[in-house]
Subunit: 458 residues, 2 copies
């Protein structure tokens, strides 16, 4: 059986014989007996296996290496030792797969930097058992939230020939032999490439998502995304996952309702299912993590305009590194102050149009757009969204103002001519959510096999 099932109702197995398969996470040997710290990976909890020299192959068992895969048959008993309530008194322990003594993951403290170097083994550590279980459960929380509310899950394409995000920010993708690229008149002859055009992998599914929202009303995407940023910070990776919901007949207020409800749902879902993992993370990674998460699900999210935020920042008795400015973005120090000021998450709305994207709805003041960023204590900007410009002429004007080449996105703009309506959407970087949920600071430690500049191993 599996540990996850055993722990669901462990009392009912007391004094019964059970069989388990898993791995030796530690092995302490005494003259006439031994203790195996056993884990099968199905839950965060381990189980202690006790064996004695009553067993015929006692010597073989004592020689079992840390890290080995074993099969254990034994009786579940109340433990007399400290540190656990139950243990297995072994009747038989069989080696299923040996572990070399050169195992790079010896049972001692390792730095996270070292663990990144052995990314194929680090999921076996307590830290990454916790982090990647939370990742999996949080992913399902997101699917469950949207599916329960009848959103359509759309797999938007990753390969694209549209470079409206700016081709510098996108990976080029090709089937050419890179050493021998066909050229015509000195330029790459893309006609000979698989798609017959210059192609990229994309950084957003939003445009395609909007096309589906105009057919299915409310949709979401959840898939990998790529950025070429040559940036070695704790929060940047070149491959990460994004969630991008898009909702027809929904304005900015409605969008904030959804963002708030979704975030609380996901946090509560993880709180309900990952208690062991979160307690570990609370103890060893971010003190107060559980309190932070429990507070969030019960907090009231403030809604305030960018202009009002700047007012508050200017009145604050603080020497800012970056001077708050009505026409500019806010800095990290401002985000932090504002969430502390309101003692909870803050939706900041109605941003200066010049610092936001071309497809966002222009407000009647002609100066701001109906955009919203969600600032969360301890996470910074967690979601970014907007009401979309549904007026064809206004959107064309914005494209002209911002020098957006409309030709590759004419289909997207045409959605406004064919029964387009008020609609809104947002994006959430999944890893940013995970950093918040786990307290782990570095994006490299919430992605199974992270891709960052000069680092694409495994």
């Amino acid at each position: 059986m599996k540990l996850v099932d055993l722990y669901k109702d462990i009392n009912s197995y007391l004094d019964k014989e059970i069989e388990l398969k898993g791995w030796i996470r530690n092995h302490r040997k005494q003259a006439n007996f031994g203790f195996i710290d056993f884990s099968d990976g199905t839950c965060f909890k381990h189980l202690q296996i006790v064996y004695t020299n009553d067993l015929a192959d006692f010597n073989n068992i004592q020689s079992l290496n840390y890290g080995s895969a074993i099969k254990v048959r034994g009786n579940l008993v109340k433990s007399e030792g400290s540190g656990q309530d139950y243990e297995i008194k072994a009747l038989e322990i069989t080696l299923e797969g040996d572990c070399s003594p050169e195992y790079p993951l010896q049972p001692k403290r390792h730095t996270r930097e070292y663990l990144r170097e052995i990314a194929y083994l680090r999921p076996r550590t307590n830290l990454f058992q916790a982090v990647f279980r939370v990742r999996s459960v949080a992913a399902h929380a997101i699917h469950t939230y949207f599916q329960d509310r009848n959103y359509l899950y759309v797999h938007t394409p990753l390969i694209t020939t549209t470079d409206c995000e700016g081709s510098d920010q996108m990976f080029k993708i090709t089937t050419f032999d890179m050493n021998n690229i066909p050229k015509v008149d000195g330029e790459v002859d893309y006609k000979k490439d698989l798609f017959g055009k210059k192609a990229y992998v994309t950084g957003t599914g939003q445009l395609h998502g909007e096309a589906f929202a105009m057919a299915f009303n409310n949709i979401y995407t959840f898939g990998p995304t790529f950025r070429t940023e040559n940036s070695n910070t704790k929060t940047h990776a070149n491959e990460f996952w994004m969630i991008e919901p898009e909702i027809a007949f929904c304005d900015l207020e409605g969008l904030m309702d959804i963002e708030e409800e979704m975030l609380k749902f996901v946090v509560q879902y993880v709180l309900d299912r990952c208690n062991d993992e979160l307690e570990f993370l609370d103890q060893f990674v971010e003190k107060g993590l559980l309190e932070k998460l429990n507070k969030l699900v019960n907090s009231k999210f403030t809604r305030i305009t960018h202009h009002e935020v700047i007012d508050i920042l200017k009145k604050a008795d603080i020497k800012w590194e970056f001077i708050p400015d009505y026409d500019s973005d806010i800095a990290k120090e401002h985000e932090k102050y504002i969430t502390e000021y309101f003692n909870g998450p803050v939706f900041i709305t109605d941003w200066p149009k010049d610092i936001k994207a071309w497809y966002m709805k222009l407000n009647s003041d002609n100066k701001t757009v109906a955009a919203v960023d969600l600032e969360v204590p301890g996470a910074g900007e967690l979601m970014g969204g907007s009401q979309r410009e549904e007026d064809y002429d206004k959107l064309i004007n914005r494209c002209k103002e911002l020098n957006v080449d409309t030709e590759p996105v004419d289909w997207f703009i045409n959605l406004r001519k064919y029964g387009g309506c008020v609609h809104s959407g947002f994006g959430m970087g999944f890893e940013r959510l995970l950093i918040y949920l786990t307290g782990v600071e570095n994006i490299r430690d919430v992605i199974p096999f992270p891709r960052t500049p000069k680092s694409c191993d495994y």
Copy 2:
């Protein structure tokens, strides 16, 4: 309110006033009244709106274009007309977004080829409302099946520097200016690229999935996958989605149990939730679709070796185009015959080692590997899996035999040295499942925005 909620308990809304927002899917006009075929995309069912010249803006309403977004306020009444049980008697109809008379999706029959050309509008048609709803529900069925059974969802990386699949089958990915690629000694200087190495987007998450199965016991991936095949068939696309579960302490028999249970679960899940969609597809796309799906969930899956299959094929009184051969793969005609022979799905196991992958477990006969293909009536090969070679030395030998360069996958092979155990996994192409579930024949029609050779629009 939304149609999906209205139809959940429509009787309770009878003679009540409701408000709906959605689109005009058809508009029939008479002198003193009119009928609007209304859909809001939240469910497959439409609703008829009746309006009369009692309404003050009758003329405006009559001028509303097909395709427009509208808001309707009215009373739900029993319909006196044929074709529907209920309808809305409108009190007010407001235009939310006009639709140009040049709308490329006029209310008439369109070929699927034409609809592919307007991929951003086709989700509004009945066919694609059905197909993409099934796609979304089936995706959640898969997540639900695995999450309910405690599988860990792993986001394996798409960018890779490992070319063990054969670099010809993988897209290269780069940040270089393609017109000006830095070279050293006449060769591409990959040190200057973002990752400092030659990089690809991958066609499988299996290797990374195995690393996680050795930590979490049972895992699954579900994400996009890429192939460069220059193949214009009904079943090939260059971007598609795959599901790849991997299970520790699981042999080939256990794997087949999981495959069978999962497939039945997913089909039943879709049957339970997409009745309107499947009835439509049964009527207009594949006659007998519902019967086929209902039969599957109640069928017994046969388990038979490749050798036995060849025996049966050789004995069959059929003039094969491809002669059945104990050392070769089976052809489509054979697959069809075998599923008809057993009148249900068939697991074919123990394939000749020379036609299967290097990581599959070598059987004791030294001739076959513990691989399994699932053949499903009306779908062909739906899943492919195997027990993996857990013996380090045997795996190295197989790599040598098959000229697999082990250097880039040494970490994967080393999993055998560090507590590796019996384990198995399979892959299922999500679009192949959808073709089976919907009866739609062409992969281009089950992918929101398909990417195929010379075709990467939108």
